[in-house]
Structures are given as structure tokens and as C-alpha cells.
């Protein structure tokens, strides 16, 4: 994969500035139970209905580690080719807040479960491999989420909802390897894709299952790293890019006005599109991290790691390569069909209806991208909610392939399938849409068309080639569009000479 140098620059009064970006992504681990308690984790439940004694930090309660969360973190690490640390440990991060009943968050500061890995991003959808970049991942650790304060329930008091308290998160910390908002967005998109392939996080940013702390600094090209700021809890792809743009410009302005950047934590105001200071390094919490004495160090066996590895599906990069080399898809089609796991699954289910998938792969891919995606988009449905199943689509594509219907008729049939839920063959049969390939019938119509348009025939023969389309159109019209266009073309050429 070729590396692409970013050309993204901030134009300042003193010249060009580079931007350096690192992301800490918090991804909620897909699991029925919380990281250290058996409470449920469903999104949107009534406040405080998914809270165990442990989550509420009742006196004498102790955490017990949920093995499924460990498994998902290890699988995620393996999916980004990271080092799995066979020894890791949990630390307490101490601070007071009403959404944190224990008074500490159990996290992994000193010994994270996953070490260095790498994520390949693409900066060009048309040809990802030609414009790729490797973004380093420094570590992944697992930790507890906090609860939520509700400030709009009472005129003078804030309420606490502990449903989210104790839910398992992976914190995925990148290296400062990104140099533009576009790269950061590509990184988050790719990370999200991998997490969803692995099944370790649903990647739902609207529901807060994935959110990012955005670290930004600026420097003159070739200089040492500048001082960074960290903007917390940014929860959409668009906001991440906005934060970077705003923060980079702000930093350049501060420095060029003779000021200095302070290392600080900032918040993003989504309405104003601005970041603002939350607390500076001087006011930073002293979290008093220390090993949690309630939990033993986590030691992983080789067999466990092996099983985690064996349970991984084919990941997007491998899949994309296979679609290109084995199935013969274009780089662009391969990239689009593999970006979301569900899309690839749908595509492969379609291919599974034949024993020669490479023969129909390209036409199936084109059909999905031109017909299916458009239809789903109009209906506001995801591919998993598609009213037409892969098998039904295969039936439709089969009718095109064997010449039963034309591509044009197929569009019509597909529309009826979406409306009625009927199968393609049934629709073609009932509506009489079967394509006419019988040369006798077509020749008869052509003779009629030629007889009715003798002036145009003369013009055509006199060199007006463009009129050929007119004859095709007239013939098709006369046959209600059911004539095999190939046969029509051939016969017309013969007859018109």
C-alpha cells in the first residue's frame, strides 16, 4: 500500500502550518452485561433500571470481571494486528462526581490488555490502495463507563441515571499519525468498520457507543510537535472534523498573535461550532491511579488468544483484496461493498446462490450499487432491512443473465418486487414482461416500422447514422419494450443495410 503525504495546511500570516492529530476513541463493548457486574446494558431503558448493587457502589460490593468483554477487546486487538498483552491489570482512576458512584473508574493505565497495532486508512474511495496511510494504534485498554446526570428533570436539582454506569468501554488510543480532518474521519470510519466486522462494538455514534477525544496540535512543516489540546467526547464524524478545523485555526491564530498554546482539556460547542477551555493542566485532576486491589491481574492463556483469533471473520482489508483479485471487482466496487460488514454479507449471500460466483460478481455488484442502494436510500432503510432478499435479487439477476428480460425491464420488475414482495419470475410471468427474442416476430414489426417511415430510412441511408436510435425506439415501442434489444439491433442493421 502506498503512503500518501498529507498536503493539508493551515495558511497563516507567517506561512503554512501542519496539523498533528491523535484520537482516543471510546467504543462501548457489545456485551449483555456490564464490565464488572451482571446488570443489563440495553440502550434507552428507563433510568436506573439497569443498575446492580455493584454499579451503585453499595458498601462491601466487589467487581467481578466479565470474560466476554475481555474476549471482545482481545479480538479487536487481533483485528488490528496488535500485540496482545498476556498480562494486564486494572487500576483505579480516582475522582469525585455524582455519575461515578465508586468515586473511581476502574481502567487500565499501567498495563493495558492490547499494545501497539495499526489501522490502514484510505483517502480515496475510488482507489483505496493507491491513496492509503497506516495509522498507528498505541494501545487499547478496557474500562468502565460512567452514569449520566440529568439536569432537566427538576428546577433546582440534578438527577442521576446509573444505567450506563459500569458499561464496558474499549479506549483505542491512536498515535499522532493523522494530518488532516479527512484523515481523522477516514481513521474513525475504518475503525468503526473493523469494530463492526469484529462485533465488538456497534459503532453507533448517535447513541454514544462510539465517541472520541480529539488531540490537536500545529507546527511549521518539519518542526517538533507543538503543544496539544484535547477536546473531549466528540460524538460524530462531522464534529470530529469541525473540532480539528476549528482547533488548528485557533492554535495558529494564538501562536501568530504572539501567544502560546496551553496543554488543556476542551469542550466542543456543537451549536457554535467552537471549542472552549474546560480545564488547564494546572487544574487537571490528580487521578491518583493505583492497582485495584479488588481485582487480580488478568493473565491470558495462549489457547484463549488462539480461540479469539479463530473466531474473527474475514476483515475488510482482506475482503476487499479478495473481491478485486478473485471476484474481479473494480477497486471502487470492492471498497464500497466491504466498507460495511452487512453489505458484504448481503453481497456474499447473493453470490452463494450460484456455484460460479466470479461469473455474476461484477454484474451483481453493479446492480447493488446502482439499483439496490438507490432504492434503500429512497426508503430510508439499511441493507439489513431490505425488503428484497439476496436470493430474490439473485432470481432477478438470473432473468437478466439468461436473456429473459432486459436490464430496462429489470428495473421495472425490481420496483414491483419492492412494492409487492413478489418474486421476479412471477412478476415477469404475470405481467407478460418476458423479452421477445423470436426473430420472426421482431422482423415483422421492423418491416412495419420501415414501411411507415420511408423518408427517415432514406435519410439514414444517406448518412444520418444517428437516426438508428429512432428505429430502435419505434421497434421497442411497438413491442411494448419487451423485444430483446440485441436482436432488435442486429435485425435493424441488416434491414436498413
Amino acid at each position: 500500500m502506498s503512503m500518501t503525504e498529507s498536503t493539508y495546511r493551515i495558511q497563516g500570516a507567517t506561512g503554512e502550518w501542519e496539523v498533528v492529530i491523535g484520537l482516543e476513541v471510546h467504543a462501548q463493548i457489545t456485551s449483555n452485561a456490564k464490565l464488572f457486574s451482571g446488570a443489563a446494558t440495553d440502550f434507552g431503558a428507563e433510568p436506573n433500571t439497569q443498575v446492580s448493587l455493584v454499579d451503585a457502589a453499595m458498601p462491601g460490593m466487589l467487581p467481578t470481571l466479565n470474560g466476554e468483554c475481555v474476549r471482545q477487546a482481545v479480538r479487536t486487538g487481533l483485528a488490528i494486528n496488535a500485540k496482545i498483552n498476556k498480562y494486564s491489570r486494572f487500576d483505579r482512576k480516582n475522582y469525585f462526581y455524582a455519575d461515578l458512584p465508586q468515586g473511581y473508574q476502574i481502567s487500565q493505565l499501567y498495563h493495558p490488555i492490547v499494545g501497539e497495532g495499526v489501522i490502514q486508512i484510505s483517502l480515496d474511495d475510488k482507489d483505496p490502495d493507491a491513496h492509503g496511510k497506516a495509522i498507528g494504534v498505541e494501545r487499547i485498554h478496557i474500562e468502565q463507563d460512567a452514569g449520566k446526570l440529568m439536569h432537566d428533570q427538576h428546577p433546582t436539582m440534578s438527577y442521576v441515571d446509573l444505567n450506563r454506569c459500569g458499561v464496558a468501554l474499549m479506549e483505542i488510543v491512536s498515535m499522532p499519525d493523522m494530518a488532516s480532518p479527512k484523515e481523522a474521519a477516514a481513521y474513525v470510519r475504518k475503525l468503526r468498520s473493523i469494530l463492526r466486522y469484529v462485533g465488538s462494538c456497534d459503532g453507533n455514534m448517535e447513541q454514544g457507543s462510539m465517541r472520541a477525544d480529539v488531540n490537536v496540535s500545529v507546527r511549521k512543516p518539519g518542526d517538533e510537535l507543538g503543544i496539544r489540546t484535547e477536546t473531549k467526547n466528540v460524538n460524530s464524524m462531522r464534529f470530529i472534523q469541525q473540532v480539528i478545523e476549528y482547533e488548528a485555526q485557533r492554535q495558529v491564530d494564538v501562536i501568530e498573535d504572539g501567544g502560546t498554546i496551553v496543554q488543556e482539556t476542551r469542550l466542543f460547542d456543537t451549536e457554535k461550532g467552537e471549542t472552549r477551555s474546560m480545564r488547564s493542566k494546572e487544574d487537571a485532576h490528580d487521578y491518583r491511579y493505583f492497582p485495584d486491589p479488588d481485582l487480580l491481574p488478568l493473565e491470558l492463556e495462549d489457547d484463549f488468544i488462539f480461540d479469539c483469533k479463530a473466531s474473527l471473520p474475514e476483515l475488510p482489508d482482506e475482503k476487499r483484496a479478495r473481491y478485486k483479485t478473485v471476484l474481479g471487482l473494480s477497486a471502487y466496487n470492492a471498497a464500497v461493498l466491504t466498507a460495511e460488514h452487512e453489505t458484504a454479507i448481503w453481497f456474499e449471500e447473493l453470490l452463494d446462490t450460484t456455484d460460479k460466483p466470479e461469473k455474476i460478481a461484477s454484474s451483481a455488484a453493479n446492480w447493488m450499487m446502482s439499483e439496490l442502494f438507490g432504492a434503500l436510500n429512497n426508503m430510508g432503510k439499511s441493507i439489513e432491512e431490505s425488503p428484497v432478499s439476496p436470493a430474490e435479487a439473485a432470481e432477478l439477476l438470473g432473468l437478466i443473465a439468461d436473456g429473459t428480460i432486459s436490464g430496462k425491464i429489470a428495473k421495472q420488475v425490481f420496483e414491483i418486487m419492492l412494492e409487492t414482495g413478489d418474486g421476479a419470475a412471477k412478476i415477469v410471468e404475470e405481467k407478460g414482461l418476458k423479452q421477445e427474442s423470436d426473430t420472426g416476430a421482431i422482423e415483422k414489426v421492423i418491416a412495419e416500422v420501415i414501411a411507415a417511415n420511408e423518408d427517415k430510412v432514406e435519410q439514414y441511408r444517406g448518412g444520418k447514422d444517428k437516426l438508428f436510435g429512432f428505429f430502435v425506439g419505434q421497434t421497442m415501442k411497438a413491442m411494448q419494450g419487451k423485444a430483446n434489444p440485441q436482436v432488435v439491433n442486429e435485425l435493424l442493421k441488416q434491414k436498413l443495410g
Binding site: 451503585a56 457502589a57 453499595m58 458498601p59 462491601g60
Partner: protein
């Protein structure tokens, strides 16, 4: 036949078994003892119904010929650090005033499953932080013991399990639960002339026990003698999936294997436990203990535990560090005390609640713990203390190459008068000098009452064993007990 009130667990078991008395008679005897003992302030909550219900169940089971649990019909006192379902639990702190758990600690649940009843919740040093019971928010326990000088100075029962020690010594409860973080079972047992046993760290589940210092806290038994401690510990201990640090091992039948013949056993005498200013009576008792061990067939070996002098400072870093974090949950938000001044915000509420709810010693330890964990000091204090802890464990490992058990005094003095050390935290911390090293190493250890000092107050000897080797600790304790013949008991003045 002795009075029921003088009986321990085995005695009660025997009496119920032979039909000499019923479990209900036992419960009623001790319920009366509890209500008559208010001047000692040993009980924070009395639960006579609980004791009676368990007693009736034991009598009914016996009538039906069913096999009785290890603790059937034994009404015990429960240190108020164990959460008990539906019964107020405070850790003797104002911050938990009014807190009633909706769950039962594993240790108390195990005891109840084995047939024990509960007489009530026993007073302690606040959050188990203290060695004299004077840090309780609900007034200190007064020891049933008095000096033989004819005066009526109130004596400390020791701490933190001071209510437990006083209740057993005063024949108010035949046995009681304790917890030991740095000596909180053994020191009060020694001060009150009873037997106290702290098992290997992890034998008893910590689930539902209010945490002081998680890596050190361990529940144990406090009773009249070694046999009773063994029976009760069997009923308390066991693996618990809800406590990641609990040991996934079967609980041995310690009582059945009790054997005071120490032939072939090597008893180590650590020279570092001979500290300055130790009363000569305690040294003499130690020598007497050595003689008793020899008499029981053991050989005596001089050993060295060179890092002993660093144990106390390390303990007073590690325990407060963990405590400062463990006690963060008492914030006035969800349960217990809440102090909400007019117009107060969240931070004000925290400050007011914790200021009003925590006692001075608790605040002192939270501050020490916060300090030693803070940025810039962590390595100098916490990391160093953990290294010391490792060295102390290694000291014991080396000693075990030469011996099977260690014999030491339990505490460097007899019980002192209430108020005599309460202004001097460092002097108070010194009480734990002999008990802290084995706590840091997570080893089983017990205190056996071995004699009285010149003032007529009890003194104890400590036996320390290898991890998981409770049996040999019990056996050595029994050998001492048989030879010491400690029968003294406090005269009832209350």
C-alpha cells in the same frame, strides 16, 4: 454442667446434642446477657428475633432428627462491618447512619446457613480504623476487664474488633465475627483474653464486608478457644465467585484434624520481634510460650525477619491508600448521611457530608492515603511500600525454610486505659507492630490467651503459619492453650 453463658460453640453444640438444654434456652440466655450489658456499649444493634428464629430452627431440626449445621443454635455477635440484610449496618461511622443493606454479606450468610443466629451488630473502630475502639462514632466499647488495683479505670477492649472481643470475654456472646486488616482480630483478642483467628487472605469472601483496605481485609473468628475458632472459621470460609480475590479451594475440616502434639514441628522465634520498651512481662510470657512449645514436642529455631521494622510504615501507607479510594463512595448521593447546606452544589454537599460523617481518624487516613497516591509522591511512598511488602513476604518465605510456624507476642502491651493513647496516633499505631507483618504477607495467624500481667489484664501469644496452613496454626494454638490453662475471666461489674 457449666452455666450456659460460659459455654462456647463446642459446649453449646454438645449441650443441644445431648438434650441438656435447647437452642432456644441458649438464645434466651445470651439475649438477656446482651440487654444487661449496655454499659459496655459492645452492641450497636440488638437482633434478638434473629437469634431466636435460628434457635427454633435448630431445635426443630434436631426434633426431626436432621443433621445440624456446624453452628446450629449458636447465637453469635456480628461485627458491624458485615452487611446484614434488613439490619442497620454502619461500620461505626456517622456517614452510614441509617443505612440498612438489602443484601447479606457472604460471611454472615455462610454462618446463618450453618445454623448460627445473630444477637446483634457489634461496635468497632470506625471503618475498622483504630486499635482501641475509640474511633467509633457511637462511643467506645468498654472492656469487661478491669485492672486489679481496685480502681475503676475503663480499659480498652482493643480494636478494631473491640465489640467482638468484649462480647466474648464478657460472656455476652459465645463467639463473634471479626475482621483483621493489620491486627484487628488478634490485638483485641489478646487484650480481652480470648482466642482470635485470622485465616490466609482469601479464605473468607470479602463480598458484603465494608472495605477498609481491600488487599489486607480478612474476616476471622473470635471465640473462647481454639476449637471454637476452628468450627466457626469452617462455617465462615469458602470460595465466592463474587470476590475475585477469594481462594478457590475447599475448606478443610480443621476441627477434626486438631492435634496438639507438635512433635516434628519447628517453631521459629523471630529476633526482630524483641522490640525496645516491651514490658518484661510480655517477654517473660514469650519465653514461657517457647517452653510450652518444646513441651508439646516442637523444636525451637531462631529466625530472622530482617524487614520487620519497615512493616508498620509500609502498612500505614498501603492501608490508607486503599482506604482513601474505598471510602470515596460515601458521598451523600445514594445512601447514608447527606449534609446539604442551603444553596449547596455538588462539591459543597460532598464536603459537608464527609466533614460531618467521618470521624477524625478516618479523615486522617483518607488524607494520608490521598497524599501517598498523589502525583509526585506515588513512587516515593506507594511504590516503595509495595516493594517493602514484597520483601516482607520474602522474609517469611525464607523463614519457612527453617521452621513451620512462628511464635511471637500478639501485642507489645496489655490493654491500656481508654483515653491514654487517643491523642497520640503514632503510639496507637504501634499496637499493630507484631500483627502487621503477617497481614502484609496474607498469612494465617492467631492470638491465644496465655496469661495475665501484673495488673490482672490478659496477654496473648501469636502463632503465625504458612499460607493455607491454618491447620498447623490451630494445632500450635491448641498446644499453647492446653499448657497455658487460661481460665481467668473478667468479674461482672456492669
Amino acid at each position: 454442667m457449666a452455666n450456659i453463658q460460659d459455654l462456647g460453640i463446642a459446649g453449646i453444640r454438645g449441650g443441644i446434642d445431648s438434650g441438656a438444654f435447647t437452642a432456644v434456652e441458649v438464645a434466651e440466655t445470651f439475649i438477656d446477657r446482651v440487654s444487661a450489658a449496655k454499659p459496655l456499649n459492645a452492641f450497636l444493634v440488638e437482633t434478638p428475633d434473629h437469634a431466636l428464629t435460628a434457635a427454633k430452627a435448630a431445635d426443630e431440626a434436631k426434633a426431626k432428627g436432621e443433621t445440624l449445621g456446624k453452628m446450629a443454635g449458636v447465637p453469635i455477635g456480628m461485627k458491624d462491618l458485615f452487611c446484614t440484610e434488613g439490619v442497620p449496618t454502619t461500620a461505626a461511622s456517622g456517614i452510614l447512619e441509617g443505612f440498612v443493606p438489602q443484601y447479606e454479606s457472604t460471611v454472615s450468610a455462610n454462618l446463618f446457613k450453618n445454623g448460627a443466629g445473630m444477637l446483634g451488630k457489634l461496635n468497632l473502630d470506625q471503618f475498622a480504623m483504630g486499635s482501641s475502639n475509640e474511633t467509633s462514632a457511637f462511643g467506645n466499647v468498654i472492656s469487661p476487664w478491669r485492672r486489679n488495683d481496685g480502681g475503676n479505670t475503663d480499659i480498652t477492649p482493643g480494636g478494631s474488633s473491640g465489640g467482638s472481643a468484649a462480647a466474648v470475654a464478657g460472656r455476652i456472646a459465645p463467639a463473634a465475627t471479626g475482621t483483621d486488616t493489620g491486627g484487628s482480630i488478634r490485638q483485641p483478642a489478646a487484650f480481652a483474653g480470648i482466642t482470635g483467628f485470622k485465616p490466609t487472605y482469601g479464605r473468607c469472601s470479602r463480598w458484603g464486608t465494608i472495605a477498609f483496605a481491600s488487599s489486607l481485609d480478612q474476616a476471622g473468628s473470635m471465640a473462647h478457644d481454639t476449637r471454637d475458632c476452628a468450627i466457626m472459621l469452617e462455617a465462615m470460609a469458602g470460595f465466592d465467585v463474587k470476590d475475585s480475590t477469594s481462594l478457590d479451594l475447599p475448606v478443610p475440616d480443621w476441627e477434626a484434624a486438631l492435634n496438639s502434639d507438635l512433635k516434628g514441628k519447628r517453631i521459629g522465634i523471630p529476633k526482630e520481634y524483641r522490640v525496645d520498651n516491651m514490658p518484661s512481662e510480655i517477654d517473660a510470657l514469650w519465653q514461657q510460650g517457647i517452653a510450652w512449645m518444646k513441651d508439646a514436642g516442637a523444636t525451637i529455631v531462631d529466625v530472622s525477619l530482617p524487614h520487620t521494622k519497615y512493616a508498620l510504615p509500609a502498612y500505614y501507607i498501603i492501608a490508607p491508600a486503599e482506604a482513601s479510594s474505598n471510602l470515596a463512595r460515601y458521598d451523600g448521593v445514594r445512601y447514608g448521611k447527606r449534609d446539604l447546606p442551603d444553596g449547596a452544589g455538588l462539591q459543597d454537599m460532598y464536603a459537608a457530608t464527609r466533614e460531618a460523617g467521618f470521624g477524625d481518624e478516618v479523615k486522617r487516613r483518607i488524607m494520608i492515603g490521598t497524599y501517598v497516591l498523589s502525583a509526585g509522591y506515588y513512587d516515593a511512598y506507594y511504590t516503595q511500600a509495595q516493594k517493602v511488602r514484597t520483601l516482607i513476604s520474602q522474609d517469611f518465605d525464607k523463614a519457612w525454610e527453617q521452621c513451620d510456624l512462628l511464635l511471637t507476642p500478639t501485642a507489645p502491651s496489655a490493654a491500656f486505659g481508654l483515653g491514654e493513647k487517643s491523642d497520640d496516633p503514632l503510639a496507637m499505631y504501634l499496637n499493630d507492630v507484631f500483627t502487621v507483618p503477617s497481614s502484609l504477607a496474607g498469612l494465617p495467624a492467631m492470638s491465644v490467651p496465655a496469661g495475665l500481667d501484673g495488673q490482672g489484664l490478659p496477654l496473648g501469644l501469636q502463632v503465625i503459619g504458612k499460607a493455607l496452613d491454618e491447620q498447623n496454626v490451630f494445632n500450635a494454638g491448641l498446644a499453647l492453650e492446653e499448657r497455658a490453662g487460661f481460665v481467668a475471666k473478667p468479674e461482672q461489674w456492669w
